[in-house]
């Protein structure tokens, strides 16, 4: 099961995962928990109704420093960077010249000159090379991948659970803000961000401090439930959030992924702008849609999608959605098949199963 490749890395919390009975899998170059003993459904339920605890230390943390960061990053990404105020986080996408995506990321602006850039683990080496290949004036980069830890607490009880450990009023933080503070007496960055569709926080800290915070959270009278990458994927899919390699790839860019809101064509120039503008102008690009299946058979990534018996696309992600009690999926389909309400077929082991195109997200929290 476990890749014997010696280059596979462990996060600072590896021992803690093993002690909790996690099933570990290789992911993004690290050996990560895919689920713990209670299973994905209970982990999902904890995040939707109480709180879940995640080790995301496999994600790459790049430190950006200098007066030139905003202007430099604006030329490499589709969303605005220089306009981010200190203490604010913003989602963004690095594109290639053809309008496909190198990665989707979050910029956290810590103060005027210091930023944290978080990229997907699987893209860490590619993204580091991409940044090195596009040096900026007044920009210093430091790759902290594997040296810094990231612990996420996600769910409606997150603020109450984490708040007692932080030297700041995190309940007063707005969504997509960040601050440098101390957590259990150690320096950390706390951000009100996440990838679950729930309220929650992400704590960036030194690897040597990770176990102390993790253990302290689990020692609470009402602790968060440790959650693995399996639950995280189901949660993000329900929330309509793209996963790189599925809804976005080097060939599927942000316009096709229905992330038009994040592409700022008002910026003077950025890599991929012309290609993305041409896509929008032409209008007939294939795109990511949500599917709800009629039946009980789950759709999975790679399954063919059919309209009137014709193979028109493929499933990009699929799972049971516990919040809906239905099987959901994303699929890449032609514009003509992308309207909500369109009836579509998913071929599963030789049989076509009916589904309906729906608007994303599948799940939206009530508060």
């Amino acid at each position: 099961m476990i890749d014997s490749d010696e280059t596979i890395r462990r996060t600072a919390l590896w021992e803690a995962h093993r002690a909790l009975g996690a099933r570990m899998v290789p992911f993004g170059g690290f050996e990560m928990p895919v689920q713990y003993g209670d299973g994905i459904l209970k982990e999902h339920d904890a995040v939707r109704h109480a709180a879940g605890l995640f080790d995301l230390s496999h994600m790459a943390q790049f430190e950006l420093r200098g007066p030139g960061v905003g202007a430099w990053a604006d030329t490499l990404t589709v969303n605005n960077v220089a306009t981010i105020k200190p203490g604010v986080a913003r989602y963004n996408i690095f594109c290639n010249e053809a309008g496909g995506a190198h990665d989707d990321v979050i910029f956290y602006r810590l103060d005027d000159d210091r930023w944290l850039l978080v990229v997907n683990a699987a893209n860490a080496a590619k993204m580091w090379a991409h940044l090195q290949a596009h040096p900026g004036t007044g920009v210093t980069l430091t790759n902290r991948h594997g040296e810094r830890a990231l612990i996420a607490i996600q769910g409606p009880k997150s603020a109450a659970i984490l708040g007692g450990f932080v030297d700041a009023d995190i309940a007063a933080m707005k969504y997509y803000t960040c601050l440098e503070t101390s957590v259990r007496g150690r320096p950390a960055i706390v951000a009100r961000t996440g990838y679950t569709g729930e309220d929650g926080f992400e704590v960036f800290l030194d690897s040597e401090d990770a176990t102390d915070l993790w253990d302290a959270l689990l020692a609470l009278a009402q602790p968060p439930l440790p959650c693995g990458l399996g639950a995280r994927d189901v949660l993000r899919l329900e929330a309509g959030m793209p996963l790189y390699g599925h809804e976005m790839t080097e060939a599927i860019g942000p316009i096709q992924a229905q992330l038009h809101w994040a592409v700022k064509f008002t910026k003077p120039a950025f890599i991929g702008k012309d290609a993305l503008a041409a896509q929008v102008a032409a209008g007939d690009f294939s795109r990511i849609v949500g599917l709800v299946l009629d039946g009980k058979v789950p759709a999975r990534a790679g399954y063919p999608v059919l309209v009137d018996g014709q193979n028109v696309g493929e499933v990009r992600s699929g799972s049971l959605a516990p919040s809906l009690g239905k099987n959901i999926a994303t699929a890449l389909v032609p514009a003509a098949a992308a309207s909500a309400g369109t009836r579509i077929g998913v071929e599963i082991r030789g049989t076509v199963h009916p589904a309906t195109v729906v608007a994303l997200p599948f799940y939206k929290r009530s508060t």
């Binding site: 895919v34 459904l41 994927d233 799972s319 516990p322 082991r349």
Partner: protein
């Protein structure tokens, strides 16, 4: 943990309970625990003839599709229809209420290709 006595086991983590010329088939506790929360089971049709160790269906957890292999050859005479509405029965009670289907045996000699409880226990201890 000891495996239930009176059953035979396959290396693919199915169990077989033989009564006369009919065998009841299921997946082991080890299998259900490895799969995680089971959300869908695709069973063979009644009347289908299944070869020993043939791929005859799937068990799907929240995140993964796993092939189901038939541990002993025969004709399907009954399926556990409760699994359609409640696939989690496989997680809760894999050796009893979560049985999958019954086959009328083609060749009772195929039992010799299956593992005793002790040998299956040794197999999963190595995993």
């Amino acid at each position: 943990m000891a495996q239930p006595a009176g059953l035979l086991y396959s290396k693919d983590h199915e169990w077989v309970k033989i009564e006369g010329d009919v065998a009841t088939v299921g997946i082991t506790d080890y299998a259900q625990a490895s799969l995680g929360d089971i959300v869908y089971v695709e069973l063979p049709r009644i009347g289908a003839t299944l070869a020993q160790f043939g791929n005859i269906g799937v068990v799907e957890s929240v995140k993964a599709v796993s092939d189901l292999f038939n541990p002993i050859g025969g004709e399907v005479v009954e399926i556990n229809s409760e699994l359609e509405a409640d696939p989690a029965l496989l997680n809760r009670d894999p050796f009893e209420a979560g049985w999958l289907y019954k086959v009328k045996l083609t060749d009772t000699g195929e039992q010799a290709n299956l593992l005793s409880p002790d040998k299956y226990e040794a197999l999963i201890a190595e995993a």
